[in-house]
Symmetry: C2
Subunit: 199 residues, 2 copies
Amino acid sequence: MNYRVLPLTKLTEHFARLPGIGKKSAQRLAFHILRMPENEAREFAECILEAREKIGYCEVCKNITDAPRCAICTDETRDRSTICVVEDPRDVIAIERTKEYNGLYHVLGGLISPMDGIGPEALFIKELLARLEDGEVKEVIMATNPTVEGEATAMYISRLLKPIGIIVSRLAYGIPVGGNLEYADEVTLYRAIEGRNRM
Amino acid sequence: MNYRVLPLTKLTEHFARLPGIGKKSAQRLAFHILRMPENEAREFAECILEAREKIGYCEVCKNITDAPRCAICTDETRDRSTICVVEDPRDVIAIERTKEYNGLYHVLGGLISPMDGIGPEALFIKELLARLEDGEVKEVIMATNPTVEGEATAMYISRLLKPIGIIVSRLAYGIPVGGNLEYADEVTLYRAIEGRNRM
């Protein structure tokens, strides 16, 4: 016989579908929902709906936003001559955390990956080219991940941009700060030596 | 300047409040919600509300249920002469998974823990005693965790039950199946030797 409590089972299954959450964790989270204060559980549910309803893509840079244009694109203090091209809105958050970059962004919404059937036309590349037409942008920084797909996408876009006469740059490779040479892989170490700077 | 997208920040904070989910995971989960199909996100939110609205405690054994009495208490095929006492509804699920136990349960809703200010009166112990009054129950199995609080609670309840003339038993201690003697702690190994059985 089956003694499952259906609403709990359904909630557990929903948690288990989230990335990185296994069956045991999903059960623990579902039980946590049962024990949390009533209003907190309601707020949580409302936040899920609200996030889906209110969040969309910025019409300029394709970053996520709850307005037609994102807060970075509408910020008059940002340097409009530089665009940093990233795969995902999370990469924007990561770069903003450095507090060092003051230009604009362009979110591709993915990477070129023939293995997964994702070609250049599936990404927001046309939209990037359209932003470069008025000549205000002088430099495009390719900040895709240092993976095969990230490299291929950076290479593809840089080939499109160079003929227009725009400076195309790529994030520096090297050893991570606080890292250990002993554990660095050969390719990273080679790139770190190749890209060495004068002290 | 702050470029946060408020609905996303709120959702991330709610995820981060769940047990075992850090800031990075919370962000990943919030982004996942943005990308999942619309109807799945809505169902997830509804499941949270439904679980809170429909799930309550069984009036007999205090297990969770979406009816006045839980499916185990209402199942006529279960052995009504044995009650297994556990801390939490999750322990019921764990024991049910063994498919070996056919008696009833009683969920205490916690363990006696003077350090946290939890005394016997905060647990469903009175309700357990009430269930023993008609003399149908012959044995009570104490299946609280093998921790200090679990032991203390089992001891406290067994002292209340013994004068009534009910058999009180405790889960066996020993080495876990598939475990390694080398890694077993001294107390567990001592208990395993002490509780040895004839082959």
